[in-house]
Amino acid sequence: MIPELGHFALVLALLLAAAQAVFGLWGAHRVDARWMSVVRPAVAGQFVLISFGVGVLVYAFVSFDFSVLYVASNSNSALPTFYRVAALWGAHEGSLLLWVWILALWTLAVAAFSRNLPATFASRVMGVLGVVSFGFLLFTLYTSNPFERLLPAPADGRDLNPVLQDPALAIHPPLLYTGYVGFAVAYAFACAAMLEGKLDQVWARWTRPWTTLAWCFLSVGIALGSWWAYYELGWGGYWFWDPVENASFMPWLVGTALIHSLAVTEKRGLFKSWTLLLAILAFSLSLLGTFLVRSGVLVSVHSFAADPSRGMFILAFLICMIGGALILYSWRAPLLRSAAGFDGTAREAFLLYNNILLVLAALVVLIGTLAPLVNDALGMQSISVGTGWFTSSFPYLALGLLGLVAVGIHAAWKRGRVGDSRTRLLIGLAAALVIGLAVVFGAYGLGKWQSLVGIVFGTWVIVSSLFDPIDRWRRKLSLPRAVIGMTIAHIGIGVCVIAVSTVESYTVERDVALRPGETVAMGRYAYRFEKLEPVEGPNYDGVRAELTVLRDGRPITVLHPEKRTYWVQRSTMTEAGIHSRWNMDLFVALGEDLGEGRWSLRVQLRPLIDYIWLAAALMALGGGLAASDRRYRARRLAEESPAVPGAATEVT
């Protein structure tokens, strides 16, 4: 009974989404205040209804209602409560519901914080979001209903995929989706501007905080996924250029470009059509990504037969949303001209180069991800594109970007007089070289030259980012959150590149076969395999090894890698044993029983690896601070809220 109510709630939400879209867009077109007044209630109603639907499904999980097919497929009587809730997004149908709910949440936020925007514009933004919501709800109800029944109900469920029974991976989808879906807001702002036929600096100021906030969530979501892969998948790797990972990385790259392009549009009224295009592109990549991983749209040679009707539906939706926006773009963008100018060494120029590189990077990832599909679709020989191809170009793009940040951050707007920043540039570069080279040769020795450049450039970015804030502080000037946020985020990217460069060059890894009592040595460190004992958990059993790590002969910690077999799905998971020191991780993963008491083990020393994820946290923190800057909060200026004929007046 209750699951059917949940289903019904979604149907009602679909109707409200339609109302939101129709009244929002057409009401704005007609400048009809009564019609437009339907929109915010529709948004609120949709949120309530979808929340109800989510609540029903969560209840079904928590109460072990195996008569619901989705619950039976993703849960089990032995599943701990936390994972029963997380199972909501454990598979396709539920994760779609999550997507739709997060969209409703963002739209609610837009509805709440848009009262200072012109009525027709706000109405259009929410109208566009209504269209997106409508499409997703239709898809959910039509092909992926999470409330479908399984009758007769089985005695027990098939359990949640053990891969997902982990705290980090449990919260990774909600955070990631918050990022993905957040770009819909930027997309909606872009479409609204195109429909209004007006895009100016004020528009950019409105759009920036939403975009930055979405970007923050996406950054954290990606970092969580990477961290999880590191400690859970057993190889000690953190990025595999896997289609699933690339699907989240591409919107992030374009989103970064979008944030920077918005800055130029806000400041100088330039790059308007580029900003529009980036806003459309970021959301398009979000859509493409969300679907690549679930619909069979990415038909790699190793995906199995997908449900073609789902794939077609998604494709049709993609074509409507993206094609529609691009048609609007081709119509409106030619009118967005500006007469502003800037020098080749001005800040605008650096941001332009920056964005070109970011888009190029996203394109490289896109090509690598879609190439097998393209070859298959065009009847050419099947190919694979793996890490080797991506690393043949991506690192160089990243280094180029870093160089631009380190130099461009000193550039002034409009007339970037290089002379003015010469001192800062020289000090920055000198500091970077000294620190970078000292660290490299002092701590690690010469590795790959790319890593050396990465460490130097990363340091250069960090040092360069500090000049302005310190200068402002000394001159007793204001230090707005936007500046602090930008500084922290840029420091974050510097830290990230330093960490990645270090890990890639200086990781020490050995795959060995050991018996209890035996030791493997790596430089100053040694791992001694002590013993192996059985272990049991709430819904699994397995073995647990104990290894003592020695440094210069003295024990410093004990590691406990495990190998678990989950009862219901009979699948085996490895839990790595990791100890994080301030400058490296000590890693061990348990392999298999080789007989005669010997076990295969992977041991690694991973220098600075935790700083990769710390860097992502810094970037998110910086973005969050910047988005909360005072100048984005409600400001009532006469010219920004043109009078709209009130509800009392009939408008035809």
Partner: protein
């Protein structure tokens, strides 16, 4: 207007590719063998249940079908009735390749479920299977009278796939 239409055009191109990709997806479980049109790898393997060896040379001059299977493979169990029906048609020699399996288990399987194969070669270590570019069981190859690989079916064999893909190719070779 002209350059602003470029993104739309590019997108439509991409959409076209995605469309073809989605359309293909039901058939995409079949991956074209890299050996199509090329000579089948030669082998010399023990025969299941007999003391002799089977050399690929003995199969030359006539088309033959190789079915890679194992008692551990669920899809093989599924396709077994179809294989028996295909064997009864007597169109072509059906050679089984027992892949990474135990002889005793394989024997018992054939005794219990019926033996569609004219002869079963035993590839206990999987070397021959690798030579054929096998990546999972079951897989079924059609090799023509010149010894060239004409087709590979991936997954459980069905009578429908047999009629659609194997029989026309056999007939083209001028066989009864």
């Amino acid at each position: 207007m002209n350059r602003f239409i470029v993104p739309l055009v590019v997108f439509l191109g991409l959409a076209g590719v995605l469309y073809i990709g989605v359309r293909h997806s039901p058939d995409k479980s079949i991956m074209a063998s890299a050996l199509l049109g090329k000579p089948a790898p030669s082998f010399e393997l023990p025969v299941l249940g007999e003391a002799r060896k089977l050399s690929s040379r003995e199969l030359a001059g006539k088309p033959w079908v190789l079915n890679v299977w194992g008692t551990w493979c669920a899809g093989c169990r599924e396709e077994h009735p179809a294989l028996l029906a295909i064997a009864r048609q007597n169109l072509v020699t059906l050679v089984g390749l027992s892949w990474k399996d135990e002889d005793a288990a394989a024997q018992q399987w054939l005794t219990q479920l019926g033996n569609p194969y004219s002869v079963v070669a035993v590839d206990r270590e999987g070397r021959t299977a690798i030579d054929f570019g096998v990546y999972g069981a079951p897989e079924t190859f059609l090799i023509d009278e010149r010894g060239l690989v004409q087709y590979r079916h991936v997954g459980a064999m069905t009578l429908e796939a047999w009629e659609r893909e194997f029989v026309p190719r056999l007939k083209r070779g001028g066989l009864p």
